[in-house]
């Protein structure tokens, strides 16, 4: 699937840092749509080894802001054809997505999201408890009498899951076949900038395998973003918080839709292999580490059993964590930056997997044309300075 390149060239038209889904997708579309193949993708570790390979793969477009909805809707459209584009089965499985509401105010938010979604032609509906009960008859809407019962939900029919690694491989293979070089175990150590009066501009990068000259550098490193920004002298409001997940043993299929409860801070879906893939909200503290905690497995289990008491005997096999790059408004930071030739695709926090295709599309356009793609204008780096935020908190927190 991939070619192993023993040597780095001394210069590339474009260097992409991060061989996660985002970096590889950008490389793929640069080569496919913009004819730019003199591209190197560098990763300090291995393909898909960052958040791409750790995420719980929920794909949906039921966001809250017009910018968000349009952007993610375009992504869902791309996702649907990706397996065929790649000639690789991504296990893209449309399951339907329920965001449960346990309070009045949550019901209000669901209605808000549904209204905004429908405005943009995205299938979302605020439904009542009865509809939820019919769709997921085995769920205990009373939550075992602990805490507020389920009053209704936002139902989003296009909600889907996919095989995360395959996404990275598909983009990686597609890029590789078109001449892009993927260099694993190659770490970015520094960025060389020059300033000829019009502000700093990228001229090259330093890696553990040597220097590379380039004038276009795309940074798609998720949890490592603050470190790379420091290399180019930029500051952002991104904070890194651990986000954890866990998985059960395989079970025969019993759960089709994806279930999210903001009040209980949990979500769950059943993978094609039969495992229950589960997660919760962010760890509340800033930490640059991927170590798991017992607390997480305990509280997630406790909350999950309130909805699904019959899972008591089901066993958890594995838990893990990723480093989520969080922004204050829960929307990403994308596009050009004050450093000429330095393009950023970051701030993907807990929700960036679903955006992989559309990020690839829009970032490749932005890099190729040195101009922000229209779909990402709401996500500009400088919006924080201007307080022109894109508030996705209500739709992005636990739901991913």
């Amino acid at each position: 699937m991939f070619t192993r390149h023993e040597r780095l060239k001394s210069a590339y038209d474009v260097v992409i840092i991060g061989a996660g889904g985002h970096g590889l997708a950008a490389a793929y579309y640069l080569a496919r749509d913009h004819g730019m193949t003199d591209v190197a993708v560098l990763d300090q570790s291995y393909i898909g080894g960052g958040n791409t390979g750790r995420n719980t793969t929920i794909i949906r477009s039921n966001y809250l802001t017009p910018d968000g909805v349009k952007f993610y809707d375009e992504s869902v459209r791309l996702w649907r054809d990706l397996s065929q584009d790649f000639d690789l089965n991504l296990f893209y499985s449309t399951r339907g997505h329920f965001t449960l509401a346990h309070t009045d105010s949550a019901m209000r938010t669901m209605r808000w999201r549904a209204e905004v979604n429908k405005h943009f032609g995205v299938q979302s509906e605020a439904v009542d408890a009865k509809t939820v009960a019919e769709a997921i008859p085995m769920m205990d809407l009373s939550c075992g009498g602990h805490g507020p019962p389920v009053l209704g939900a936002l139902y989003h029919a296009p909600g889907a899951i996919a095989r995360h690694d395959a996404v990275a491989w598909g983009y990686g293979r597609g890029a590789d076949r078109r001449g892009v070089e993927i260099h694993q175990e190659t770490q970015l150590l520094g960025v060389e900038l020059e300033d000829h009066g019009s502000g700093p501009a990228v001229v090259g990068v330093r890696t553990n395998r040597g220097r590379i000259a380039t004038r276009k550098l795309l940074c798609a490193v998720a949890g490592s973003t603050p470190g790379v920004l420091a290399m180019v002298g930029l500051r952002s409001p991104i904070h890194i918080h651990p986000l954890q997940a866990m998985v059960s043993e395989p079970l025969k299929p019993w759960l089709d839709p994806i279930i999210v409860s903001g009040s209980l801070h949990i979500y769950v879906s059943q993978s094609a292999r039969g495992e229950l893939v589960m997660g919760a909200s962010l760890d509340p503290y800033e930490l640059h580490s991927t170590r798991s905690t017992l607390d997480f497995a305990e509280s997630l289990s406790a909350h999950l059993l309130e909805l699904f008491p019959f899972l008591s005997d089901v066993r958890i096999v594995r838990q893990w964590a990723g480093m989520a790059d969080m922004t204050p408004d829960f929307a990403p930071i994308m596009g050009k930056t004050p450093v000429q030739g330095f393009y950023l695709d970051s701030g993907w926090g807990t929700w960036g997997f679903k955006a992989t295709p559309v990020c690839g599309k829009t970032m490749s356009y932005t890099v190729a044309n040195d101009q922000d793609h229209p779909l990402i204008r709401g996500f500009a780096f400088d919006r924080f300075a201007h307080y022109a935020l894109t508030g996705e908190k209500g739709a992005a927190s636990v739901g991913h």
Binding site: M1, F2, T3, Y46, I47, G48, Q84, D87, L88, N89, F91, S93, H102, T103, D104, S105, R108, R111, E115, V116, H119, M138, C143, H146, R163, A166, E249, P250, L251, K252, A272, R273, R291, S292, T293, L294, A297, E298, L300, S301, A302, L305, E306, P309, F310, S312, D313, V314, R315, I316, V317, R318, Q319, W320, P328, H386, Y387, L389, G391, G394
Partner: protein
């Protein structure tokens, strides 16, 4: 039928016969048997079907992680999936079924997948069935094929309490090294907890040293010292499944999770014996020698009657001697090594003297299955020209094959905790390099296999671990001699053109799958794992990862020490969710008069952790009518609202005013004693996060309220800020200590006058004043506030006296028709006054300017949270604005909260609050809209179904714009 005569130290109790069934057939075993041991004793060797090809599989390790012997059981009316047969104790009436079959284990309709295996290469799922149209059908099929056991949707919630434990030194693994470590640490003075997954301590010494009398005695002595030691507690049948930060161990027993916090931790978990790879190495009857030894010594079960042994170390010879002692014929012992080591040689002589064929430099080329499906013979391989090749020797008939070719360290917990391991070419295994502070390892984990050396290594680790906790040992221990023989073969892997040489039994991965994966570029351990799924099955790679790394190194032509291992993560062994969940804790808070509400017809709604009356049921009235009646009663006379769920905080100290100046947007340092003021709290980006009323009770004492949902988090944040700013402010959370009632309505003063001697006239107790006085003889705090827009008093009293005061108010108000008011009516009352609810009329980005609260923001202060942001925001054009709209009287258009405002086809905002005002007789509402929409005369609101309603914008508030009613006789502007 395969049960051996009683043997010393066996784990079964022959006096207790237990009947159970497997696949619908009746069997019996003894107390102490596992399902695996009892079935093999009854002559059943096929215990399950493999994951992908549905090949029949038997016991492999009998070491608590046989991933091919997984059963669904029925017990106490419940059906439980995915139980491990080698762990599961049999119980009277237990019914067990193999999980991965269709139509039963013997006749599994999917067994033919085996023959299709050539068409199912690794990763084939990725390469097939991805047509958009057909994928859903194929996916369903695939999901049914995989998935192991089924959940019983009617099973009840199992509640298992947890336990917290503490120890100076925790020793994980009670084999010789762990035993020695525990004694050494305890002798030094440490309190020790010794954990082992088995019901008895002794570890491998309970089965592997039967032929070594002297060694066995040594271990028995160690066990004696541990058992009698006052400072050692033994936790048996307990699995250490996770080692988290700060030495927190997750220990799992049959019925609960133990959370053990230890000063230092010693990992002495030994090693997992590893299979050899050759064609058909998965046939029932082929197992690890240690598995066979466990069956013989613990359960007195003979897993074969005529066995071949494939070895590469002294353990193979010991297993052969054990077999002979148990009356099992040993057809042949094949030693992969051309030159057996010094420990093996004398044993080889003994065996030869007993007539056993012992062949050096020989392996197994393939195993063959007989009519029953089990192994019936082996073809030999010999080492020629640098490779294993098929031998011309005749196949040898056997009904069992035991493998003892090497071990992999049980170092998962060490690696979870951040230990770095490196490949030790002498021991042919990974051993820990640098260990994090307080973490120690000993025994086979360190590549030490000889008994004396293991004991010495344990003593060293025990002494060091005790020292780490401050216990100095008076004993001095020497270092053990190095092992005389290596226990592990560097490459026990034999190729075969027809494959079926399994590297991972859980996931059905053959040798060629690895070659294919590496060929495709998945050529590092992590990618290989993810592409092939090696190590991702139920046993989490305990008997596949070691060989997978060897194969990878071989394929890439690299030494093993340059191959990075995959990351180790909890769980070491899977844990039922009920154990992790424990009892769960979801408190529901109730105000002191909760029971009264209930008896007075309250219909409840949740409010944060509390429950509050939404409204009170009234005869023959609907919900809406009941709420309207409450609204009218308050506006017309007097109403009583239980507002005890509000957060209530006291701030004390000379800088309390300055502190509040920093956290709220208004001026509080200058607030007069005896007065209150509305406060808005922002986050650093200038977004509204809370509001409340701040009262100054004394020069250095403030008392203030927060919203119900935020109170706990907000208190924590304020304490954090006070600490961070180093301000001498004491904060006291009084939320639960005080009850609070809002007595409001034009006649509230008259009713209140009956309960207090406090002067209530406007001069003595003006609007926005606060007073401390006795109400019904109870000391109370009275805040004259106007959230609902009438003359009103918030009465705060200690919770213990709340019921008295509540009753007194109700009695005093009876003459005036006092009415209880629920949350819904309160929401309407405040809507009529256009008082906002934070979180409903604001969103995650709303700043004070957008809701017209400029008056509450004092930009001239030196600092408050969010001030800097507001200064920038103030220069921008506003993003949105809060406006009011009202429909013509009597018109009901179906507008709901969060319906969108549409302008020129675009979203221009949303309705944040809406309702039918009983007071005004019309639909009124608030909307956050774009400035352009706010300048229009009407809003266009899109309702359910898509129609748009024209709603005229009206000035705010809707009701009593001059505020005359809450002030009664004093005019004046809002402060």
């Amino acid at each position: 039928m395969n049960r051996l005569a009683a043997r010393p130290g066996e784990w079964i109790d022959r006096s207790q016969r237990i009947a159970f069934s497997f696949e619908g057939h009746a069997h019996h075993g003894y107390q102490g048997d596992t399902l695996t041991s009892a079935l093999i004793a009854s002559g059943v060797r096929t215990l399950g079907r493999s994951f992908k090809y549905h090949r029949p599989r038997g016991a492999l390790s009998v070491a608590n992680h046989d991933a091919n012997a997984i059963v669904q059981i029925r017990r106490a009316g419940r059906s439980i999936p995915n139980q491990r047969a080698d762990l599961l104790p049999i119980a009277e009436g237990l019914e067990a079924f193999a999980v991965n079959t269709q139509g039963g284990l013997a006749r599994d309709r999917r067994r033919h997948l085996d023959r299709l295996s050539a068409y199912l290469p690794v990763g084939f799922y990725y390469k097939a069935f991805h047509s958009k149209r057909l994928f859903p059908y194929w996916e369903r099929l695939f999901r049914n094929l995989t998935g192991l056991g089924a959940v019983d949707l009617d099973a009840p919630r199992v509640v298992t309490p947890k336990r917290h434990e503490f120890a100076d030194v925790a020793v994980i693994g009670a084999g010789p090294a762990g035993l020695a470590a525990a004694v050494a640490a305890a002798d030094a003075g440490a309190e020790v907890v010794l954990v082992d997954e088995n019901p008895r301590i002794g570890g491998s010494a309970t089965y592997a040293l039967a032929s070594e009398t002297a060694s066995a005695q040594r271990v028995a002595d160690l066990i004696g010292s541990v058992t009698s030691h006052p400072r050692i507690r033994r936790f048996v049948t307990t699995v250490a499944t996770g080692l988290y930060a700060d030495h927190l161990l997750a220990l799992v027993t049959q019925d609960r999770l133990l959370k053990l916090r230890a000063g230092s931790v010693i990992i002495a978990q030994g090693a997992f014996e590893q299979p050899a790879v050759f064609r058909n190495n998965d046939l029932p009857g082929v197992m690890l020698a240690s598995g066979a030894q466990r069956l013989m010594h613990r359960y007195a079960v003979a897993p074969a009657s005529r066995v071949g042994i494939l070895g590469a170390n002294v353990h193979a010879y010991r297993a052969a001697l054990d077999a002979r002692a148990a009356g099992i014929e040993v057809s042949v012992l094949l030693d992969l090594r051309e030159r057996p080591g010094p420990q093996s040689l004398p044993l080889a002589e003994t065996l030869r003297a007993q007539g056993v064929r012992v062949l050096n430099g020989t392996g197994v080329y393939a195993a063959h299955r007989g009519g029953s499906g089990d192994i019936d013979s082996i073809e030999l391989a010999e080492w020629r020209e640098g490779a294993w090749r098929r031998s011309s020797a005749n196949a040898i008939a056997v009904d069992g094959l035991w493998m003892s070719v090497g071990f992999a360290p049980a170092d998962a917990l060490l690696r979870q905790a951040g230990a770095v391991v490196q490949y030790d070419a002498r021991a042919c295994q990974f051993v820990p390099g640098v260990l994090p502070p307080g973490l120690f390892a000993c025994g086979k984990v360190n590549g030490v296999f000889d008994l004396d050396a293991r004991v010495a290594d344990g003593q060293r680790a025990g002494t060091a671990a005790a020292l780490h906790c401050g216990f100095e040992s008076r004993s001095c221990f020497g270092v053990g001699a190095p092992d005389q023989e290596t226990a592990t073969h560097p490459y026990p892997i034999v190729e075969h053109p027809e494959g079926m040489n399994f590297v991972d039994f859980d996931e059905d991965l053959q040798l060629k799958d690895f070659a294919n994966a590496v060929q495709e570029g998945f050529d590092n351990a992590e990618l290989l794992k993810r592409f092939t799924t090696v190590g991702m099955g139920l046993s989490q790679g305990k008997h596949s990862n070691a060989n997978a790394l060897r194969v990878l190194a071989q394929l890439r032509g690299m030494p093993l020490d340059s191959i990075a291992q995959t990351t180790a993560r909890p769980m070491f062994q899977s844990v039922p969710m009920s154990h992790l969940a424990g009892r769960g804790f979801s408190p529901e808070r109730r105000t002191p008069v909760d029971a009264d509400h209930e008896s007075l017809g309250a219909v409840w709604m949740p409010a944060g952790n509390w429950r509050r009356p939404a409204y009170y049921r009234r005869d023959r009235l609907t919900r809406e009518e009941s709420i309207a009646a409450e609204v009218r009663a308050l506006r017309g006379g007097i109403g009583l609202i239980d507002v005890g769920t509000l957060g209530k905080i006291e701030a004390h100290g000379s800088q309390a005013g300055e502190f509040l100046d920093r956290v709220y947007t208004g001026h509080f340092g200058s607030l007069k004693v005896g007065m209150t003021r509305y406060g808005l709290m922002l986050d650093e980006s200038g977004v509204i996060v809370d509001d409340g009323v701040i009262a100054r009770l004394a020069p250095e004492v403030f008392y203030f309220t927060t919203t119900t949902g935020n109170s706990a988090a907000l208190f924590r944040e304020l304490v954090r800020l006070a600490t961070w700013w180093r301000m001498p402010v004491s904060l006291v959370n009084l939320t639960g200590h005080f009850a609070a009632f809002n007595l409001a309505g034009p006649r509230s003063r008259e009713a209140l006058a009956r309960l207090t001697s406090l002067a209530l006239d406007d001069a003595a107790f003006p609007y926005l004043g606060v007073r401390e006085a006795k109400i019904a003889n109870v000391p109370a705090r009275l805040l004259r506030v106007g959230f609902v827009g009438e003359l009103g008093y918030e009465i705060h009293v200690p919770s213990g006296s709340a019921a008295e005061v509540w009753n007194a108010i109700r009695t005093a108000g009876a003459d005036f028709g006092i009415t209880l008011i629920g949350v819904e009516a309160q929401r309407m009352l405040r809507l009529e006054k256009a008082h906002i609810i934070v979180g409903q009329d604001t969103d995650g980005l709303t700043n004070p300017f957008e809701i017209g609260a400029d008056w509450a923001v004092k930009m001239d202060k030196p600092f408050f949270i969010g001030q800097r942001s507001l200064a920038i925001i103030a220069k921008n054009a506003p993003r949105q604005q809060l406006v009011g709209f009202a429909l013509e009287p009597g018109r009901y258009a179906g507008i709901r909260e969060c319906h969108l405002v549409i302008r020129d086809g675009d979203i221009a905002g949303r309705v944040t609050s809406v309702g039918q005002s009983p007071t005004l007789g019309r639909t009124i509402g608030l909307a956050l809209v774009t400035p352009a929409a706010a300048r229009d005369a009407t809003l266009s609101i899109r309702i359910d179904g898509g129609a748009q309603v024209a709603a005229p914008i009206v000035p705010l508030p809707f009701y009593d714009p001059a505020g005359a009613r809450q002030r009664i006789d004093s005019g004046g502007a809002r402060s």
